[in-house]
Amino acid sequence: MPDLLIELFSEEIPARMQNRAAQDLQKLVTNGLVEAGLTYASAAAFATPRRLTLTVEGMLSESPSLVEERKGPKADAPEQAIEGFLRGAGLTRDQLEERDTPKGKILFAMIKKPGRPAADIVAEVLEHAIRTFPWPKSMRWGDGSLKWVRPLHSIICLISAEDGAEIVPMDVDGIKAGNVTYGHRFLAPDAITVTGFEDYEAKLKRAFVVLRADERAQAIWNDATNMAFAAGLDVVEDNGLLAEVAGLVEWPVVLMGPIAQDFLGLPAEVLQTSMREHQKFFSVRNAKTGRIERFITVANRTTADHGATILAGNEKVLSARLSDAKFFWENDLRIAKSKAGMAAWVKSLENVTFHNKLGTQAELIERMAVLARELAPMVRADPDAAEQAARIAKADLSSEMVYEFPELQGLMGRYYAKAAGLPDAVAAAAQEHYAPLGPSDEVPTAPLSVAVALAEKIDKLTGFWAIDEKPTGSKDPFALRRAALGVIRILVENGLSISLIDEALKPASAVLTTMKDVSQADEAARLKDLLAFFHDRLKVYLRDQGIRHDIIDACIAMPGNDDLTLLVKRAGALSETLKTDDGENLIQGFKRANNILSQAEEADGVEYSYGADVKFAQTDEERALFSALDDAEAKIAPAMAAQDFTDAMSAMAALRGPIDAFFTAVQVNSDNATVRRNRLNLLSRIRTVCSSVADLTRVDG
């Protein structure tokens, strides 16, 4: 069985696109082959900065021939109809088959589709793949109209079998497929002729090209860690960077260089960020001191001087970068330690717009400070400290370091707050108030950090709601969904029970009255809408924890639904209960009771709510249900008062047996009006007891 080798050789493909492109090439080509009937044994795709490669092994040499049966008109149909059918099928009258069917004699055409040679199919499929390739961004070049990620220079398309290899004849906008590739741009730029995948990979390696990205990454990591180890140091792990660097080189050569003494005093994060963002360097750390002392860069070649020139150049560039960083750091520290201190930074935020309707960053900070103070007692933080922490939490936005490296916001604030002599907890809040940044980011737990983090997010949500800038569909430019999820996680994961509306949203809304562009109308409706938004995010959050949508709805329908921690506890308990046999069946019983009751209430025009009396009970099952309800009520009320949902729910689930037995033995709609009314009132007790726990009418099942 033949093998297929494809290489698309181009100018440098962006590192971030390479892996995906290799997968796309494999998918597009192999899907096309299979659709055309060319099955194969295995396939694999690879990418380097200058090429995408696909190898397909054990491919059919031609597609199987097929016979397509096509049903035509009746044998006695008008001549014109038959002629039309013949034209469509490309056959003559004597080639048709007549078959007897219940509808009479019908003509059938058996159209033979002969198999096609693999080369024809491959050429078609590859051309289609090239022309429809899903690059995130593609371009034209020269005077052509073909689009590729960067100019495409040559194509290998080769089918090889034991008796030799054959170039698939094809031409895409003047680029003819061949059996030629090129080695490393500088170390082996000449043309290389190949006969198949193994030959191709081996020859490329001799031409200083490592085809496989994982092999390049592995080599880089091995050399880097060995080199650092030999110097008694560690490489700081960074898989994103490793993947990127592996996509920037065909022949990785790892070089380690020193960081000049001048810069060793910079915070490790600053060194790391500057080196990673600007230079794509790995950081090398002294495990004993935690300091970053060297850098590792990955060159794309060997040189006669063993990389000395390259390393010297990189050191020089790094020094220029770090001089900037050091300049920023020292300037910032001087300001932080000065008399005016971080307040000067906050002052200058008066000139920075947060949002044109929500004022400046300085105004935002003022609101956060008021709100943090109000929230403090609820999160067990000291109000004065919370206000102070909120006031400096965003000061670092004015610092030069954060201007240069926005991703260091918060962290720099922490360094500068410490330098300014502020308490550690206040400094920590500067960093942690942004958290959690995503679903997997850690939630702050220190009370001050919690207070400021909540203040920041709640102000943001209330503010954007007040100016009617809510997320729609996939658009959420101000990351409000993330903010809401942040609030939910901070409250729930810290076990903080607060009334979101009364204790957070209303105070936040009150603070917003200082903004002249913010509408004060319909506050209650607005906050209700915002609470619904929190509930939507909560559903997503709980769904990820395996709690069903309808269960959450059943709990949201209960009073106190703006205490998210309580809501989550309730939903968790209900979810657990419903997983039990009793729980699941209780729902059936409850629904049955509720249906009978609703129908009777509608028919009779009255509400059956109380008055059930055991003295009118006629069967043991009825009496047993009375006593089970008495038991359940006695247990549920105190459990609910103590917010012990698990106990309340298990008491409720215990009703399952008596309810089931009742429905099996008892006919509710008795001819005796008194008995009937009593039974309906009994059903009403089921509804009342169960509904005190959650709105079970909303539970599916």
Partner: protein, 312 residues
């Protein structure tokens, strides 16, 4: 690629080497445009000539001004006035990368010892309504050039596509010459009877312009000039295509584009004076872009822009 030419000794010898190299590759070596621009791309030899179907190959030095980058001549790398070297070839030749690498050799970068990389960097100029795909070129970790295949300019798709190379000359020269502070760089040959460093030529002007750009430029005047240039650009393009005096078809795309350049520079100066807020910024950029688009629309109606009597 191993024969290494004589090592350059001065800033100007690097510029001359680039001029000679690109002349030898068949480019018309043009002179800088005689107006204040933010980058070599603004030269009409790039902006306008990248439009339309006429083939083009030009190389030139362009003094460029970025008022906000002024540091009174004290920062080792930052200047409010600096030089770019610009090459534009349309259609982009298939060996443009090799031609580019040849230019690095021509200025004394030994390809056998250095690590040259093409790192993704897509280019976009919101003021020109232009974008392209390409790379920043790294030499031993330092960005030495910008390499772009123009896809769109002034809102027009580029057909054919131009290849554009931009070298930041000071930075490149500092690297090649091994100088750490731009002001220390020899401008002419260090053996000259009158030796001149970059500081001798530009230290004083950097101070003067930094003071003017940041603190002194009269913002009312700048604003007025911005608005005048904007109105003027529009007025020029509102003229009929046929000149009533000569009876010839003369669309004044270039004079109109001069006004667009002027408006762009006024905007840069206003920005440096810190009188443009974040929200206003976008609006100003949009106004300059509207001018650039009008000029591009006009240029493609001219002969150099591919218009012909027969086709019309």
């Amino acid at each position: 690629m191993s024969k290494s030419p004589e090592k350059p000794r001065s800033f100007q010898s690097i510029i001359l080497a680039l001029q000679n190299y690109w002349a030898a590759q068949g480019c018309a070596v043009l002179q800088p445009y005689d107006m204040e621009v933010g980058a070599g791309t603004f030269h009409p030899a790039t902006t306008l000539r990248s439009l339309g179907t006429q083939p083009w190959a030009a190389a030139y030095v362009q003094p460029s001004r970025r008022p906000t980058d002024g540091r009174y001549g004290e920062n080792p790398n930052r200047l409010q006035h600096y030089y770019q070297y610009q090459v534009l070839i349309k259609p982009s030749p298939p060996n443009l990368q090799d031609l580019y690498l040849g230019s690095l050799e021509a200025i004394g970068i030994n390809m056998d010892l250095h690590d040259i990389r093409f790192v993704e960097d897509d280019w976009e100029s919101p003021t020109l309504g232009a974008w392209g795909l390409g790379w920043e070129v790294w030499c031993d970790g330092m960005e030495v050039s910008q390499f772009t295949y123009f896809q769109q300019v002034g809102g027009h798709d580029c057909h054919p596509v131009s290849g554009e190379l931009t070298y930041g000359l000071e930075r490149l020269a500092m690297y090649v010459l091994g100088v750490d502070h731009v002001m220390d760089m020899p401008f002419n040959d260090p053996g000259s009877p009158i030796e001149l460093t970059y500081a001798d030529v530009f230290k004083q002007t950097e101070e003067e312009y930094a003071r003017w750009n940041f603190d002194t430029a009269n913002t009312d005047v700048l604003l007025r000039q911005f608005e005048e240039a904007e109105a003027h650009c529009q007025a020029i393009l509102d003229q009929p295509a046929v000149d009533p005096k000569t009876g010839k078809r003369i669309i004044m795309a270039h004079p109109a584009y001069d006004q667009c350049i002027k408006a762009s520079h006024m905007f840069n100066l206003l920005d440096a004076r810190g009188v443009i807020s974040v929200t206003e910024r976008q609006a100003y950029i949009g106004r300059v872009r509207a001018l650039a688009k009008m000029c591009a629309d006009a240029f493609v109606q001219t002969r150099a822009g591919g218009w012909s009597e027969d086709a019309a």
